[in-house]
């Protein structure tokens, strides 16, 4: 890909001359879809990103949100950062390194806000599990995340894995990171003052990942695996870990004026964006960059996407100390130039290779106004398979089966914060610092904030109905948090789509964006940041519109009711009975189509009441009902120690397999308290009770479904059985 003619004309007019080769390459990358959101920015205005808890919204490396003070509930002095990033094309070309460097990138986005990374989630999307190539990509991606995330000591606490035929030629890897910082440590990517030095800290720069941003902004070619390999970077988690610790010291000692990590478009991207945000310029000597390879030229130094590098703005008197800290952690550091009031200028061996206005470079890309075709409403054509066969097919589908094979390879406990572990509706990590006792380990005895984290998408839903499916994704993630007693605080999204120049693809993408934005607004969850990845299109066609949402919520303390059933207590289903099967795993297995089920009228009320019910002392277990419907949720609750005896009325297929979001199973010894909590908000139906025999019995229509815990375990172990 090269600079489009229309862009070149605009740039030539603005500069009053032809751009140099280095400038043209810089514009090509920074004005690419990946960096400039040219096709999506017109849609992103739909998101509400405001809230009293929001400290820094969209536009910086990561968003910053204040946690509530445990005593008052008001925004307090402990902040979390939220960021999400896609690494889709690299993960197709080289699944191990592509996914690994995706983790590295989002962690550095966290560092550049002055935060310490405390949790990661990964939402992964592949072609059919039964086929070899998607399976190879899946294994490679999981191994890459495991390799990188485990080594840097950041726990991977959640995420999602979905398989769908339309990801066959274009898998998705969406990585989210949560960081933690006290308010007084906040650093931004806004350059502060002319005369301050720009210091590059971290790995030496080599010729890797050249043109990654523009590579990410076009369809994947059939020969991408061989042709585009040089555009994929190779990660070094050891260097990243050293960078995390060096950054910690630099921030703690107050040595950093502003910071930006080097990601897409390398040094050129990071340094120009940093000064553009401050309305300033820079003077950079490219030969000052510490390099790994001999005889690199200006363009390579400017655009290489070598990993594990940060660009810091440092006051002149602190430069020596910054260099000393870097040296202590065996990291390279080079003073590459300084902040100025003029243009963004780069010289190489005395010659000026870039001389442009930083704001024009960062924000001057014209937006695309693309034609959109509204998605069609699906017809209703339902299959009629045997109920028992359906139950087993849906419960053992790779989409709904146990993901233990995946999360067992991730260190999900390092940091000793993970109180609710992967495999549950949401992870909960302990933020003891929020209790106001700082780093005092004895704050274990105080009640800090439990930060619940849920991340995921639902390709079946958004493929069936982009708008309603995206709404359901928001409601489902919020339900996951509330089921563990947390109230939503904020969310970030990763919006993945196909080639936006195709009107049907852009129409579906637009519908998904608007559904997600509306539902988050209905839930009063500010969407504080995100990432857009378009051109996920290949010879096998576009991906379904795929919004991944990573939502966090808070509760006082760290405990939550389990997902697993108890031998005693009533089983209640809260929420409307959906009568539509659109977007369900059932239809994905057996064919057919239907409209997407209706969603709760008052999702915010539902979520708020659920959070209260989850922490009620009579509550024994809570579990969200979503992917795979009630069938899968019930199966997941049964253990060797506790079974469930359930009776369902109405159409058996809809009762078991419909996937309307905003529903939850609550097991309790005080059903009236649950009815009271949801009065006027959502219907509550008693559908069964716990048993002590570890057997699931479901009486539905004319059929009795009976499976013991071992039988369910075996059916749910589809992924492990295939890959071990």
């Amino acid at each position: 890909m090269s600079l489009a003619d229309s862009d070149r004309e605009l740039i030539t007019t603005e500069l009053g001359r032809e751009p140099t080769a280095a400038e043209a390459a810089l514009f090509e990358n920074l004005w690419s879809e990946h960096c400039a959101y040219r096709s999506s920015r017109p849609l992103l205005g739909a998101f509400d990103s405001e809230g009293e808890q929001v400290v820094i919204g969209p536009g910086d490396d990561a968003a910053v949100v204040a946690l509530p003070d445990p005593e008052t509930g008001e925004p307090g002095e402990t902040y979390v950062t939220l960021g999400i990033e896609s690494h889709n094309h690299p993960s197709y070309v080289d699944p191990f390194d592509g996914a690994a460097t995706g983790v590295g990138g989002i962690v550095r986005d966290t560092l550049s806000m002055g935060a310490y990374p405390i949790a990661l989630t990964d939402s992964l999307y592949f072609g059919p599990f039964a086929e070899d190539h998607p399976k190879y990509l899946f294994e490679g991606v999981v191994e890459g995340i495991s390799h990188y995330g485990n080594a840097i000591g950041v726990p991977t606490v959640g995420g999602s894995v979905d398989f769908h035929p339309d990801y066959e030629g274009n898998p998705l890897v969406n990585v989210a990171c949560v960081g933690l910082l006290p308010a007084d440590r906040l650093v931004t990517a806004v350059a502060q003052k002319p005369g301050n030095k720009l210091v590059l800290v971290g790995n030496a720069t080599g010729r890797d990942g050249l043109g990654g941003a523009s590579f990410a902004s076009e369809d994947l070619a059939e020969d991408a695996e061989t042709e585009d390999r040089p555009a994929v970077q190779v990660g070094d988690p050891y260097a990243e870990k050293l960078l995390i610790e060096a950054n910690e010291v630099l921030v703690e000692e107050g040595l950093i004026e502003s910071a930006r990590d080097l990601g897409a478009a390398g040094l050129g991207g990071a340094s120009s964006e940093l000064v553009a945000k401050g309305g300033l310029g820079a003077e950079i000597e490219l030969e000052a960059v510490h390099q790994r390879e001999p005889e690199m030229n200006a363009l390579e130094i400017l655009l290489a996407e070598s990993q594990e590098r940060m660009c810091y703005e440092v006051a002149p008197e602190n430069v020596e100390r910054v260099e000393a800290v870097a040296a202590r952690f065996d990291l390279g550091a080079s003073v590459i130039g300084e902040v100025t009031e003029g243009n963004y200028r780069c010289t190489f061996e005395g010659e000026t290779v870039v001389d442009v206005d930083a704001e024009f470079l960062g924000d001057g890309a014209p937006m695309n106004d693309l034609p959109a075709e509204e998605p069609a409403v699906p017809d209703t054509e339902l299959p009629d398979p045997d109920l028992e066969e359906s139950f087993e097919a849906v419960v053992s589908s790779p989409n709904t089966a146990s993901k233990e094979w995946v999360y067992r390879q991730y260190d999900h406990e390092v940091g000793v914060r993970t109180s609710v572990k992967p495999g549950d509706d949401a992870a909960v990590v302990a933020i003891r610092e929020a209790a106001g006792l700082g780093d005092d380990a004895l704050s274990e005895d105080a009640e800090g904030i439990g930060l619940a984290i849920s991340a995921g998408g639902a390709p079946n839903w958004t493929a069936s109905d982009p708008e309603a499916g995206a709404r359901a994704i928001a409601v489902e993630n919020a339900t996951n948090l509330a089921a563990k007693g947390a109230r939503p605080l904020a969310a970030v999204d990763c919006l993945n789509g196909g080639n936006p120049e195709k009107p049907d693809v852009y129409g579906g993408f637009s519908a998904a964006v608007s559904g997600l934005a509306e539902a988050c607004a209905d839930l009063s969850v500010p969407v504080v940041g995100g990432n857009v990845s378009l051109y996920n299109d290949s010879a096998t066609g576009p991906i379904p519109p795929t919004p991944t949402l990573a939502m966090v919520g808070t509760k006082r303390g760290y405990e939550a009711p389990p997902l697993s059933a108890s031998p005693e207590g009533d089983l209640l289903l809260v929420g409307d009975r959906p009568d539509r099967l659109g977007g369900s795993e059932y239809l994905a297995r057996f064919g057919g189509s239907d409209r997407f089920p209706a969603l709760p009228d008052d999702p915010a009320g539902f979520v708020d009441s659920l959070a209260a019910v989850a922490d009620h002392p009579a509550t024994l277990a809570t579990h969200d009902v979503s992917h795979g419907g009630l069938a899968v949720s019930l199966a997941e609750m049964v253990t060797d120690e506790a079974g469930l005896e359930v009776s369902l009325s109405g159409d058996p297929a809809a009762a078991l397999f419909a996937e309307g979001a905003g529903r939850v199973l609550v097991q309790t010894t005080d059903p009236d308290a649950v009815r009271e909590a949801f009065a006027g908000i959502a219907p509550v139906a008693r559908i069964g009770e716990g048993t002590d025999d570890g057997v699931l019995r479901v009486d539905v229509g004319e059929t009795d479904l009976t499976y013991d815990a071992a039988g369910i375990r075996e059916r749910r172990s589809t992924i492990a059985a295939e890959l071990e």
Binding site: I152, E413, V416, S419
Partner: protein, 224 residues
């Protein structure tokens, strides 16, 4: 008079070990490997992580770093030394403890709860337990399979230096309860002195009540 938690480049369980020790009321400090041990150090933790990226063999580089000479001297002088996970690999690589830890039978990283049987209770690390007790403590490693020559293992067993073995929740040592294929189901061993021990599971992750079981606290109390 504090316990030193030694941080190498790439250590990542140093803060966790420090937090768990503090929770137990054991004074401690994280010590950067280049800074060396203080003369009156009263204990040493070699924490988990990926020292030097584990780019050679796990623990091999750290084992050759200058601070390990000081750790050995302290150990020889009777100072308690505990290696956890990567610290256990460093302990074996440096010869503080016998045997070696290598790639899991599954050839994959495994993060999961396991059960350990306490093989002897008359060491500082197990004095809070009875022999035969079963502890639930998580593992998180890709290279935790204990390997040693059969005859050397027999010697170790004869000398009663196997501290923990992987077992079922009921305390039975069975192939199904061995998560990584360790020879003899060994999860932890003693050095020449019983004040020196290494284990692959993470006791610091099983100490704080908010994040799981507290079965591992007794091991860390070996420093008290």
């Amino acid at each position: 008079m504090t316990v030193a938690v030694v941080r190498f480049g790439g250590s990542n369980c140093d803060r966790d070990a420090a937090r768990a020790l503090s929770y137990l009321g054991i004074e401690n400090e994280v010590v950067w490997h280049e800074d060396g041990l203080s003369e009156d150090v009263m204990g040493v933790v070699l924490p988990g992580g990926f020292s030097y990226g584990d780019y050679l063999r796990a623990g091999a580089m750290a084992a050759r770093s200058p601070i390990m000479r000081e750790v050995r001297e302290a150990a020889d002088a009777g100072v308690p030394v505990l290696g956890i996970c990567n610290g256990a690999q460093i302990g074996c690589e440096s010869g503080l403890t016998p045997g070696a830890f290598t790639t899991n039978e599954s050839a994959r990283f495994q993060c999961e709860p396991v059960h350990l049987r306490v093989e002897r209770a008359d060491t500082p690390w197990t004095a809070r337990y009875e022999a035969g007790d079963v502890l639930e403590i998580p593992i998180a490693h890709g290279e935790g399979r204990y390997e040693i020559r059969e005859d050397r293992l027999a010697e170790l067993e004869a000398d009663d230096r196997v501290l923990f073995r992987y077992c079922t929740p009921e305390g039975e040592v069975a192939p199904s309860s061995n998560p990584n294929g360790s020879r003899g189901a060994v999860a932890g061993v003693l050095g020449e002195r019983e004040t020196v021990a290494v284990l692959m599971p993470h006791p610091e992750r099983a100490t704080l009540p908010s994040v799981g079981t507290t079965d591992g606290g007794g091991i860390l109390r070996g420093f008290a």
